[in-house]
């Protein structure tokens, strides 16, 4: 189980490995995973005569290295705290989060494009499209992101 270990205005840091581009829920916040960071494995300090199997049998814990995931918070008025459990958001949670008076709203879109990789933004849009299948605006936004990617490749 992953848990929130740090919170700032726009980001959550989570103890554990999550998939980049995945939309997750922490507290009542939705967030998208933007990066995964692993610490340098400690066995480098001890490596020498022993092979990997011997290290596993005699000094097993040094093979583990701590991994954290950084998540960009989607939206402004949510609350997540240190220690909150983090899990992949289900369709209903994403639907509820993005609907206001029956209309689709993506208030974080501009900020997300400014702050995250285009691949991450595209992944969020694809997930929304899988839930809001008839929303043509999502196709337009996806095309816009593709254009940005192509433009960046020139």
């Amino acid at each position: 189980m992953c848990r929130v270990i740090r919170v700032s205005d726009r980001y959550l840091e989570v103890d554990g490995k999550l998939k980049i581009g995945e939309i997750v829920k922490a507290g009542n916040c939705l967030a998208v995973v933007v990066s995964v960071n692993g610490e340098v494995p400690e066995y480098l300090k001890y490596a020498g005569e022993l092979n990997r199997e011997e290290i596993e049998r005699y000094m097993p814990d040094i093979l583990e290295s701590r991994v954290t995931s950084k998540c960009f918070i989607l939206g402004g008025d949510c609350i997540s705290d240190i220690g909150d459990e983090v899990r992949v958001a289900d369709d209903e949670e994403i639907r509820e989060y993005h609907l206001k008076d029956g209309e689709l709203r993506i208030p974080y879109f501009y900020q997300m494009l400014k702050s995250c990789d285009t691949d991450v933004a595209k992944s969020v849009m694809k997930r929304l499209k899988s839930i809001f299948k008839n929303e043509e605006i999502l196709d337009a936004l996806l095309r816009e992101i593709d254009y940005m990617i192509m433009n960046g490749m020139r």
Binding site: R6, E42, Y46, E49, L50, Y58, M59, P60, D61, I82
Partner: protein, 329 residues
């Protein structure tokens, strides 16, 4: 080594200087350090210091010649030898860390956190468990940490595992403390030694850099034991010295100064066998002079600056008068 000169003097200066400084300190002088007078005084100071060291060296050699030393034979490379010795042995390292009351953030409490790292060598099974306690502003954080560390050691005294503690069961600094705190330390240590003796659980108190003077006092000199023993060969250890239920010896498994090891009296019976296990744990460590299980326990117990920040953010402060808080602490 006892006769330290040049660069070695620098490296061991921390240990030697506190003992010698009052003996060689000369008076002030009214000129710049770089003036001819200043430089001459500096030169004389260093010469006096060196001659004192030479005198001490002779004393050290005399004392060292009266102590029985043994040497471990390590073949096939140190780590490979170590895993042969440790095969099937279960070892537990216990170490703690602490947060002093965070007065600057208005948090009127400190905390201690103790980690017990357990590994079954050969099978690859391992576990780390924690015991923590919040400490009130008026409590002694160090004494609470020590008591909790001893408590965790007792909980692991299963008659099978080798227990390693980073510190002493007869800490010298408590002699200066108030009787109530001193007896808290002593009781915690004695309870642990007794429990390990009753269950025949091997227990080591390992002090990497010891400032004890027990051997020195027995010979009527005022020098650190580790300084006296600094000419011991690498991979050698002294005979055990006992006082009541606790014994100690010194081991030297790397070129740095010897380390002090304390253990319950019953372990004398198989002393050499226990020292072999201790040495093997050190050979697995990253520096070859400190037990691997203690290195790991230390890394799990530590409260990083980041965690400290997280705690401050999560707990939040209460508005306290600094004047009032300072009267409590």
């Amino acid at each position: 080594m006892c006769g330290l000169a040049g660069i070695e003097l620098k490296a061991y200066g921390i240990l030697i200087f506190p003992v010698l400084k009052f003996e060689v300190m000369s008076g002030e002088f009214e000129s710049r350090l770089s003036s001819p007078d200043g430089v001459a005084k500096f030169r004389n100071f260093v010469k006096e210091f060196e001659s004192e060291l030479m005198e001490k060296k002779n004393v050290c050699s005399d004392i060292l010649s009266t102590i029985k030393l043994k040497k471990l034979k390590v073949c096939d490379g140190r780590r490979r030898w170590a895993i042969r010795v440790l095969k099937g042995i279960s070892a537990v390292g216990v170490d703690g860390s602490q947060i002093q009351p965070l007065r600057e953030f208005g948090i009127p409490a400190g905390a201690v956190q103790v980690a017990a790292f357990k590994v079954e060598h050969g099978s690859g099974n391992w576990d780390v468990s924690y015991m923590s306690r919040i400490v009130r502003l008026e409590e002694n954080v160090d004494a609470t940490r020590y008591a909790l560390e001893m408590d965790v050691l007792r909980r692991n005294a299963d008659g099978r595992s080798y227990l390693f503690y980073d510190g002493s069961f007869t800490p010298t600094f408590v002699r200066e403390m108030a009787r109530e705190i001193r007896s808290r330390y002593e009781k915690a240590a004695m309870d642990t030694v007794k429990k390990c003796s009753e269950t025949e659980t091997p227990l080591f108190g390992y002090t990497d850099r010891s400032y004890s003077r027990d051997i020195a006092k027995a010979h009527g000199v005022n020098i650190y034991d580790s300084f006296i023993l600094s000419e011991m060969d690498v991979m050698s250890y002294t005979e055990p010295f006992c006082s009541g239920e606790i014994c100690y010896c010194y081991v030297r498994f790397s070129p740095s100064l010897p380390s002090r090891v304390e253990f319950p009296e019953w372990m004398r019976r198989k002393f050499d066998q226990f020292i072999r296990v201790l040495c093997a744990e050190c050979m697995l460590g990253s520096t070859f002079s400190y037990p691997y299980v203690l290195e790991r326990a230390h890394s799990y117990a530590a409260v990083s600056e980041r965690e400290r920040r997280l705690i401050v953010e999560a707990v939040g402060g209460i508005s306290l008068s600094f004047k009032w808080v300072s009267k409590l602490g």
